[in-house]
Amino acid sequence: MAEIFVLAEHRQGQIREITYEMLTKGREIAEKINAELTALILGKDVKEKAKVLSEYAKKVVVFEDNKLENFNSDTYQKVLSSIIMEQKPLLTMIGHTSYGVELAPRLAALLKIPLATDCIDLAFEGENLTVTRQMYGGKVNVKAVLKKAYSYMITARQAAFASKKPQPPLNGEIIEKPSPLTEEITSKRFLGYVLPPPGGVDITAAEKLIGIGRGIKDQANMSMMKELANTIGGVLACSRPVVDKGWLPSDRQVGSSGKTVKPKLYIAVGISGAFQHVLGMKNSDLIISINKDPNAPIFNFSDYGIIDDLFKVVPALTNKIKEEKKQKGI
């Protein structure tokens, strides 16, 4: 029977959500093509976690080793290449996360099996594995076919698949395997975590956020954005390019590598809407987006859209709000 592997991702004792998303998608594919779903977990003291995973998969393979305490793509590659070569799964699913992008391409190159990264959908169509990915920051979707092989690998985009616990739980078999790591790997060593500096503004607590992106073009335009935020009684947040350019500190960044926010109002100004950003704000109560590109992906996640030059709309909006407040005598 064909097998589908899903690599569990965990950090600091927590299984990451992407794991359940992949197990849910993996189960759907397994049912369609009559394959068996197997979760893999690598780490130190992970047997308890294996129990949780067993609710989602028919089999859970556990590799316990002190050398696997922290994620390291070199140690993971040793373990995973040995089990993939041994069991030849039809498909291995890994998260398109900071861990997955470090691990999957190199592992696939070593095994010489085709890999499609950052997939938002996948299905076996006949003998072919077809995937859906995105290009140009989410402006275009691509359907692609992987080169025919005995074994395939994909990395799955975060939040692309819903996670659903099977009812009743599958209570899969837990299989402990001896770690193939014989010696300490020294080419790459984990030293520690760096947490974001404390203090600053907590954008997750704000009711109204003005999210600004690349479209604001120049630091000189920040004052126009600040004025809108102040007038509306909100806080400035941003997408990645604004932090990269040093216009706002990193604690204002919304998205997968920043914060997840759910304000009552999110006004996206000059943000095209790459998925990394959308992931962090799409559950806001009301989303209004201003962008001059009518096909900007952000409009696909917004309640209201304005296709226009933000440098005209933002001052007009600030003025209108001021007038409104004046009328109300605020």
Partner: protein
Amino acid sequence: MRNALNIIVCVKHVPETSEVELKIDACGKSIEKARLIFDINEWDDYALEEAVRIKEKLGGTVTAITVGPEESDTTLRKCLARGADKAIRITDSKIEGSDGYGIAKILHSVIKNLNYDLILTGSQAGDDGYSMVGPILAEMLGIPHTTLVKKIELSTGVARVNRELEGGIEEVIEVKLPALFAVQTGINEPRYISIMGVRKVMQKEIKVIDLTETGLSENDVGEAGSWLKIERLYVPPVEKQAEFLKGSPDEVAAKIVEILKIRGLI
């Protein structure tokens, strides 16, 4: 402090699309590129800047390398103007259609014969977003790698590197050199390159290598040598259709204010 380093930076010449309306071309497998402006891939720009900063601090050389048609020379000239010492372009019509795996093989075929202590790439390309060339290249060269790099501190034979994880957390790792680092945006502030700066390097040589010189065959590259074959491009389906507010900026602003009032937000 360590000795001078030979650094290779892998760069890609890509269309700038973040604020442009894209159109899918007639064959459905690509976008219309005629009107687009091309530039160095954003992530690679940070990698290049990092390489030049290391050179300025420790000495050594920076070699920029790309795979692509003649137009890519614009990006290589930018690299030279920023401070790269040498530029190499691997080019061949047969390369067209290569995915990240194909490109990694091509880069490997040339880089394996060069001297290097450090290879820098971007963590991804803004066009196809594979995020795979760096790690695959490192595997082929048999050197350690790490991705999403936000900080590099070099000492003798080893680098201490911060890499970006989710949710604002970074991890610190130690990597033995020679190594490959795939750089995340925001690691530095790339300096501005003036047109004058680019003009100054117009006469510098760009070494051009074709497929036969790499030792690779036609089957190693293009669609035949890739993992992925593109079937079609299409506009992403809409998750939540926005209602578009139309009119002059003042009219639109008035409409937004109405919406905010109804919701009790002002």
